[in-house]
């Protein structure tokens, strides 16, 4: 029985030796992409210094029911009162 254990341990050593160059081989190298520099026009991920001013002038209203007058009315009906939300500032 002792012989078997001794030989099995020898076999483990042998397999370790055989796999050493191959395993070490894979562990020796890796690649880590550096921060990619995108094109000048590509601002993905950038922190904006100024708020974005959306320009909807090019938007056309296709729904016939919603005319410019309707939208104006909707704006007039807008009951948003900043003082309700920011009382401290008004005081």
């Amino acid at each position: 029985m002792k012989n078997h254990f001794a030989n099995l341990s020898l076999l483990a050593v042998l397999l370790g030796l055989l796999s050493m160059p191959i395993l070490g081989y894979g562990m020796l190298m890796s690649y880590e992409p550096a921060n990619q520099v995108l094109s000048e026009t590509d601002t993905r991920g950038d922190v904006l210094d100024e708020p974005i001013n959306y320009d909807f002038r090019h938007v056309t209203i296709e729904n016939e029911e919603n005319t410019v007058e309707d939208i104006t009315e909707l704006r007039e009906e807008d009951t948003f009162n900043p003082s309700e939300y920011f009382p401290a500032q008004n005081e």
């Binding site: 001794a6 042998l14 562990m27 890796s30 690649y31």
Partner: protein, 187 residues
């Protein structure tokens, strides 16, 4: 009692293992320098900046390992075909003795254990290469170089083993083997 074969195999495996690792390291450095590819050294070894850089260096580094394996296998195969004690040519044996190179003549046990180790490394490298090609980390032509090396070396190794087997089957001593193998010799 330790197995004699296992002890011998471990003994024969140490030098190729260290050689292959050194070749891997040196070739990675040289290839990076030759192609001018930037890299850094971290806790995980060499770190390259892109997958393309890694692909180039990994491929040529693996090729260097295959070439070293080819040299090792060639050395063992030449010894087993020309300087095998069971069928070494008498003229060759005499010449080696006169040059005090009789250590080149080796027994089947020595030669086959060396051959088994070098072939094992070669096949393990082939398996690793196939896996790396699958993941796009190695050029596929590197695998074909490895396949050709494995094919030729295995074939030549089998021929020698078969020659040895035939000699053993005939049940002759070394002197008789010389007469049978080289019938044209006037011995």
């Amino acid at each position: 009692m330790f197995s004699r074969i296992l002890v011998k195999l471990i003994d024969e495996a140490i030098v190729p293992a260290i050689t292959l690792l050194v070749v891997r390291l040196v070739s990675a450095l040289l290839v990076a320098r030759y192609f001018g590819l930037p890299f850094s050294v971290g806790s995980t070894g060499f770190i390259y900046q892109s997958k393309q850089d890694f692909l180039i260096i990994n491929s040529y580094s693996t090729l260097a390992m295959i070439l070293v394996l080819a040299i090792g296998l060639l050395y063992v195969l030449v010894k087993s075909h020309l300087f095998h004690d069971s069928h070494v040519h008498p003229h060759t044996a005499a010449k080696l003795h006169s040059l005090k190179l009789s250590s080149f003549i080796q027994t089947s046990f020595d030669l086959y254990s060396q051959g088994a180790i070098w072939l094992s490394y070669s096949y393990l490298l082939l398996i690793a290469s196939i896996i790396m090609v699958y993941f796009g980390l190695l050029y596929s032509w590197v695998v074909w170089v490895s396949v050709v090396l494995n094919f030729i070396s295995t074939y030549l190794f089998i021929i020698d083993v078969e020659k040895e087997g035939n000699l053993k089957k005939s049940g002759n001593s070394d002197e008789d083997i010389t007469v049978i193998s080289w019938g044209e010799d006037e011995i």
